[in-house]
Amino acid sequence: MDTLFAYAWLIPLFPLLAFIVIVSFGRQLKEGAALVGIVLTGISFGLALLTFWERFQDGAANYKFNVNWLQVGDIVISMGFEVNQLNAMMLVIVTLVSLLVQIYSKGYMHGDERFPVFYQYLALFTFSMLGLVLSPNLLQVYIFWELVGVCSFLLVGYYYFKNEAKAAAKKAFIVTRIGDLGLFIAICLLFWWTGSFEYTQIFDSVALGKLDPWMITLAAILIFVGAVGKSGQFPLHTWLPDAMEGPTPVSALIHAATMVAAGVYLVAATFPLFIASDTALNVVAYVGGFTAIFAASIGLTQTDIKRVLAYSTVSQLGYMMMALGVAGAAGYVAGSFHLMTHAFFKALLFLGAGSVIHAVHTQNVFEMGGIWKKMPITALTFLIGCLAIAGIFPFAGFWSKEAIIGAVYGAHRFDLLIIALVAAFFTAFYMFRLFFLTFAGKPRGKHVPHESPAVMTGPLLILALLAIVAGFINTPYGPYLSDWLLASDTGTAISQVFGDEVAHAASWLQVVALLISIAGIVLAYLMYGKKKIPSDTIPETLPWLYQLSYRKYYVDELYHAVIVRPLGWIGVVLNGFDKYVIDGLVGLTAKIATGIAALHTKAQNGQIQSYGAMVLFGLLLLIIAISLTAQGGGLFGSGQ
């Protein structure tokens, strides 16, 4: 056992230990719970780094370990873990962001009544997310998939006394569960078609052509339905912006960097299934593309700092899906790469937003402004995050966005290319609208903000550093991540279908994309920084368009009218049916029973003669019965 991978199972175990310790001793630990979480997650991060490093070495093979979990009939269901390229990268992202968020939360959640409970949930989430990433089979994925969902639910509803948090938590759980149903069905079907839950066996069955094309398409699309729910893709995106009711560090960890990216991860992890079906890939690409531009267009008009970021997350996740959907080696790499850079800069932006909210006690950007000087570290790191997400050279987002645009271009998907470029423009615009409204101009708030403590700014600085440099792991001049990711089994499978050429954006396209982003920034500057263009131009001239965006295209209202309320009506109707029709049957049976009883009462008339007659009649019946049965097979069975 000379490989470190054999110990990878320890990585999720430390956060689980933290969870158990905090559950058991939370009341005694009080705010010491933070330390437990930080230290144990820190150990996991160290292990994840080592694992990643070893995985990065040449010649490192996949590692898989299984134990029997349950035997059903002749089928043995196993649980275990696996280390491959993709999940080694995910391990580092998850443990790192979790660690930083836990450090940050020590300051952010300070003084909260349920402080240990918060860390308890964070630890459980970290465990579940790591378990999800390490899973070698779909059943195990589903188990952890649901567990991260419930942690998300618990943390969104952390401020349980607020009605908005209650509603948001419920919505997060139910809407994602609709998606989960797709995954659930996919797992069941794949099990019967391939005889296994294991990735490897399912992929082998696909590669060997044991599955009909329609089966592959159906299974892939159903898996994607699960990913749509988790990653907030249209039409199941509505829960994610509402999930901002949770504490901001939670939004950073779960609803920006890790859990919502699980959908993208799932598609990437089951990629050999997707590339076997053009239809499934197209569904992924167009749903992703549509979500990217749809959510970005909503982000343009929102006034809540966290909601802008939430729609931005939805949009960026759509970007990743689109990249995976155009497939080919380039798409696979670009989607995974953007997942990583986005995790860093979006976590940075959320934590920065948290730092601002912490200081100004509001989430409405129109009640902020002029914070630049008061909170220099927060402001500077937030700016770095904005530049990164806008795709400005040489920040991390530039490289990963370039990879996506290059992949789309390389696949000659010009419709998607236009979507990608427009969405990039929107992104640059709304991010800098947010930036200028929050940090520039004159203070509009009631509170005098102060810079957050070092425990909060420290993580910001680290994430800002990553938002600057993380892109260099994969540039057209040094495609380390690309080469490495494609040296996997999935990479081999891709090259068999699409060839192994990684397309990059042509130089002119890179410049165009960069210019588009800069245009977005300049426009935002003119409207909200310099105020040269009145910011109510659009609301004044095209009010319906503005309302459509501001009201999020009325999707929530639509769902309410088409699904939620009819369900209530059906319920009320059925309730009446149950009460009066079905239960009415009881009344009927009762009447029949009384009727029979009345007959008996008549028989019990006290007259010896009638009793005697009945006895005789009974005796006669008995004699007949016995003489019939005595002849052999029995009363009913005698077939002679």
């Binding site: 349950l70 035997q71 009939g73 006394f161 607020k162 049976t589 029973a593 029995g634 009913f636």
Partner: protein
């Protein structure tokens, strides 16, 4: 050890007699002592059932701990060869991998329900005596290997239940008790007719012999039974147990019981008594008539889907937490039917897991509602809210119980739901998809009910409610512990089930397919 094992089941089944005898000597007014005896009395069957669990042989599919004594013999006449024959009723007990876990479940739930009976205030002595009689009946049902004995034990649960609901229940208790007796009486009547016909056909009441005779190709007696009659018998047995389960449209009686019975009795009712219906369907419906059951599978699935969706939609609009859980039980019993409908090992395993899992989960949830009622004097959702502030522990457990009920992985509800559906996907995939909608609906109605109870602003009147007391913590923690144990380590239940299900399934599919 052989001696112990040879009488273990009888001792287990009748062990509650000890508590009844002791209680008979305690004066009525010494309520505290009666309560203690009432609880301690259930520990004996609990320990014996755990011993049974520990000494059960997983590798064997045969009946174990078999006991057989001649009991009632009524000579009637001589057959043509001159041998006397007549009504032979033997005392026969035995357990296999299906019934053994149910015995353990019964003993565990009974102990916790006895603890939960702590808040019973009137006529304690009668209460606990009836409680223990009920316990004998339940244990007997799962241990019996003879139709006559089964029937006696089955009826033995009805009478004490009638009084327990009728005397110690809430406002409309008598109505509920009457309805309970009426419906179950009809079920028993149908069951009795089916049993008598079976006896007349096969001249035996031994369940294993009946099952063997009916499922052996070319059996001298049984092969003469026409398929029509077989189907009629199957249907009669199915209806008899469907009322108990309950299957739509026979469910309205159990709503009343769930709402009106005292919490500890609902724990038993929902946790165990309903399971007697599921057990009967598997043991007698499917066990005796596998071919007919196989043909009936699609209808089983249809009924299961109706139960799941109908129960879920109705649970969504209920105003009373108890009604939510009552309809939730109907919905969850639909999953049992789906597991049966799958007609494969995976599905049967799912159904059995669901029987046990729902036993624990519903016992936990009804117990919690009792605890909440105890403090707030209400179970109406609109009158509750914000309990998490003053009762964080109870609220947390309620949420955990709800999560278990909606099938969160890591808890028992997931295992049962997953395997029941997985099994059905192998046989009737379209039905499985329709039924799986219930997975979403379950989350919808449970979160609505639970979040409205514990989340949201806390009204002033609930600011000072007491959180769980030690006597209340025990059932909560124990039940949740079992729920998580099965969820994380399902083999603890899967291993005993294995061999028995393995023998049932080939018979079902072998003949049918």
């Amino acid at each position: 050890m052989d001696l112990v094992n040879s009488i273990l089941l009888s001792v287990l089944v009748f062990s509650p007699v000890l508590a009844i005898l002791v209680m008979a000597f305690i004066p009525q007014h010494q309520g505290g002592v009666i309560k203690k005896v009432g609880v301690l009395g259930t520990l004996l069957p609990l320990l014996l059932s755990l011993y049974l669990f520990a000494s059960f042989h997983y590798g064997s599919s045969n009946l174990q701990f078999v006991e057989k004594y001649d009991w009632i013999s009524i000579p009637i006449s001589f057959d043509q060869a001159g041998n006397p024959y007549g009504l032979e009723i033997n005392y026969e007990l035995g357990v296999d991998g299906v019934s053994m876990p149910l015995l353990v479940l019964t003993a565990i739930i009974a102990t916790l329900a006895a603890v939960a009976s702590w808040q019973i205030k009137k006529r304690l002595k009668e209460f606990f005596i009836l409680f223990h009689v009920l316990l004998i009946g339940m244990l007997g049902v799962f241990a019996a290997d003879n139709l006559f004995l089964f029937f006696i034990f089955f009826e033995m649960t009805l009478v004490p239940m009638f009084f327990l609901v009728g005397i110690w229940g809430y406002g409309e208790r008598e109505k509920a008790a009457n309805k309970f007796l009426l419906y179950n009486g009809i079920g028993s009547g149908i069951m009795l007719i089916a049993f008598i016909v079976l006896y007349l056909l096969l001249q035996t009441m031994n369940m294993e012999q009946i099952s063997n005779a009916l499922t052996t190709a070319g059996h001298p007696v049984a092969s003469a039974i026409t398929p029509e009659l077989r189907f009629g018998l199957f249907l009669a047995l199915f209806i008899a147990f469907a009322i108990k389960l309950p299957v739509f449209p026979f469910h309205t009686w159990m709503l009343k019981v769930h709402v009106q019975a005292p919490p500890s009795i609902v724990m038993i009712h929902s946790g165990i008594l309903l399971k007697m219906g599921a057990y009967g369907v598997l043991r007698m419906g499917i066990g005796f008539f596998p071919e007919q059951a196989y043909q009936f599978a699609t209808w089983l699935a249809v009924l299961g889907i109706i139960n799941i969706l109908y129960g879920a939609v109705l649970a969504y609009v209920q105003k009373d937490l108890k009604m939510v859980l009552a309809y939730s039980s109907i919905s969850h019993m639909g999953i049992v039917l789906l597991g049966f409908a799958a007609m494969n090992t995976i599905g049967f395993q799912g159904a059995m897991f669901q029987i046990v899992s729902h036993g624990f989960i519903s016992a936990l949830l009804f117990f919690l509602i009792g605890v909440i009622w105890d403090r707030t004097q209400t179970s109406m959702i609109d009158e509750l809210g914000g309990l998490a502030k003053s009762m964080p522990f109870v609220s947390g457990i309620l949420l955990a119980g709800g999560m278990a009920s909606l099938g969160l992985p890591g808890m028992s509800g997931f295992i049962s739901e997953f395997f029941a559906f997985l099994g059905l996907f192998g046989k009737l995939p379209v039905m499985a998809v329709v039924g799986a909608l219930g997975i979403v609906l379950t989350a919808v109605y449970l979160l609505r009910a639970i979040l409205r109870t514990t989340f949201g602003p806390t009204p002033d009147r609930f600011n000072r409610l007491a959180d769980a007391q030690p006597m209340e913590v025990i059932p909560m923690v124990v039940l949740l512990g079992f729920i998580i144990l099965i969820g994380v380590y399902p083999a603890i239940l899967g291993n005993p089930l294995q061999q028995t299900l393995k023998t049932i399934v080939p018979i079902v599919t072998g003949i049918g397919g």
